[in-house]
């Protein structure tokens, strides 16, 4: 009898790290099942699920960028504005008649440069907290975007430019119907998230990003150039926001002044729901993906059920608080105080 209990106990303890890693996926699964039960005909249909992926496509890029910044115990409030500025520059170059490969490259470069500005501001200007630097650039980048575009939408891009955001991969060769296509953005999400996972978990720089978040003094003492890594991290975050702009350009066929407004908050929310810690050093790429999915599915499900968007706000807020509370409880179990 006693023996059995010990066994059970150790099984529970052994399960903790797995729960730690994959718990968020269980939550995602529960949500999918619940939504399926509530909307059996529509929710799990090909059309609806591809719609969800299209909707979260650019948000997932912002969330992933903000995530690596949060891992360093930083924050980037300017991602929405970086995306908007990149989108506007893309629209202007496209209107000016530049070749499609230049138009595609432009938002990526602009995004990375904007991120680099954040990185240098935090390290070289020694801003007391990334919150302040990126709050400043939140205004600066959006203002610049409006200045160069005159604050009006610019529409109409070529097919090549729209490919990532709007492209369809035909699956009729698999015996599926014509309407059952794969959005190109799904492939992009999968590739970018996989590459980021490899980068963070299997390269030295990725390991150092986690180390900086865990203890920047330890990183410095280990001879790691913390400032250099931070500039890389913020630049990568901006680069991903540039990808977001490219996807958004494809989806909407237009550069518009309100693009990415408040998107930084959604990105931060997705990271937090996905288990990233504001104190840095904690969180996984898989978690961010789950966080983005949870927010996307919640919005989609509530829309399908015709729930008002005000309720959506209340629910997303509640999930953020609950997700972090679960994290607090988990930490009580796992760590020495």
């Amino acid at each position: 009898m006693d023996n059995k209990e010990v066994k059970k106990d150790s099984l529970f303890l052994k399960a903790i790290p797995y729960f730690d890693k994959y718990g968020i996926l269980i939550l995602l699964l529960i949500m999918i099942i619940a939504l399926h039960i509530m909307q059996p005909e529509v929710f799990l249909s090909w059309r609806n699920i591809t719609n969800v992926f299209k909707q979260i496509s650019w948000q997932s890029m912002l969330a992933l960028g903000v995530f690596i910044v949060i891992v360093t115990a930083g924050i980037d409030l300017s991602v929405g504005s970086i995306m908007m500025l990149s989108l506007m520059v893309l629209a202007i170059t496209s209107k000016a008649g530049a070749a499609w490969y230049i138009v595609i490259l432009i938002p990526i470069v602009i995004g990375a440069l904007c991120g680099m500005v954040n990185g240098f501001g935090i390290t070289v200007l020694r801003m007391p907290h990334p919150f302040i630097m990126t709050l400043g650039t939140l205004y600066i980048f959006r203002g610049t975007g409006n200045l160069i575009s005159g604050g009006v939408p610019i529409s109409g891009f070529t097919e090549e430019v729209r490919l990532l955001g709007n492209g369809r991969i035909d699956l009729t060769w698999l015996g599926l119907e014509k309407s059952q296509y794969l959005p190109a953005s799904v492939i992009l999400i999968a590739v970018v998230f996989f590459l980021m996972w490899v980068f963070l978990n299997h390269t030295r720089t990725g390991k150092w990003i986690y180390a900086i978040g865990g203890n920047p003094n330890a990183a410095r003492a280990a001879g790691i150039n913390v400032n250099k890594i931070l500039v890389i991290v913020y630049s990568l975050c901006g680069l991903l926001a540039g990808f977001g702009a490219l996807i958004l350009a494809g989806r909407t066929d237009s550069g518009y002044p309100n693009a990415g407004l408040n998107a930084e908050l959604d990105a931060i929310a997705a990271c937090i729901i996905g288990g990233a810690s504001f104190f840095g050093g904690r969180g996984t790429v898989l978690g961010v993906f789950a966080g983005v999915m949870i927010m996307g599915l919640l919005r989609n499900g509530l829309n399908l059920m015709d729930v008002s968007s005000f309720w959506q706000q209340v629910l997303i807020g509640t999930i953020i608080v609950l997700a972090v509370y679960i994290d607090v409880l988990r930490k009580d179990l796992g760590t020495r105080k």
Binding site: A218, G281, R336
Partner: protein, 249 residues
Amino acid sequence: MISSNKVILEAKNISKYFGTITALENVNLSVREGECLGVVGDNGAGKTTLMKVLSGLYKPSKGELYFNGNKEVLESPRDSQNLGLEMVYQDLALAGNLPIGENIFLGREPTKNLGFFKMLDYKKIKEMSEAHLEKLKIHVKSADQKVEELSGGQRQAIAIARATAFNSKLVIMDEPTAALAIKEVGKVLDLINGLKKIGVSVIIISHRMDDIFAVCDRVTALFQGTNFAESELSKTSRDEVIGWIMGKK
């Protein structure tokens, strides 16, 4: 004890000024191979400044450093590390969110090539750190355990393991037992004695006479930024050393 006569580090006439403040004035210090030197002194006596000069974090205003008899100018802690000197910081300088093995190799991780890319070699990190911990007789459940799950004494042991993982010849420890529970102090002191046995020299800064008298071969006292007194441990007493700290001979 078994210290040879080979001097591995010598500091000659070191002075360090911060503006008009004199932190160190003509300080001399030397460490032999496999020797443990205790550095004592009141707060503000210049102990930590001297250690930062030795590790290359500060450049001395005057004076010279000799490693194995060769004069060296240190530009950064990296330089002293390359010469075999490692520092264990008072705040331990470990990343709690990372496992033990990754902390030991932080900044110097072994990699393997995958096409053009250099990927972390987790297997090697685990094997090498477990072998190293075994050598130092540090017992932990696994090198995969996160540092934040360890006790203060275990963390101190990991910090020391980190400092000695790359064939260092000299380890400087700043108050290695200050934050520890009493039963863990003994383990850390055993570890220091173990280092001496494998020929690693140790400089230990401590306020605790128990520590100094448990592991050191020689003790030197700083007072107001100058050499005040020095003796083989066998030729002095606790009361005398405490007197030196207060500035009395």
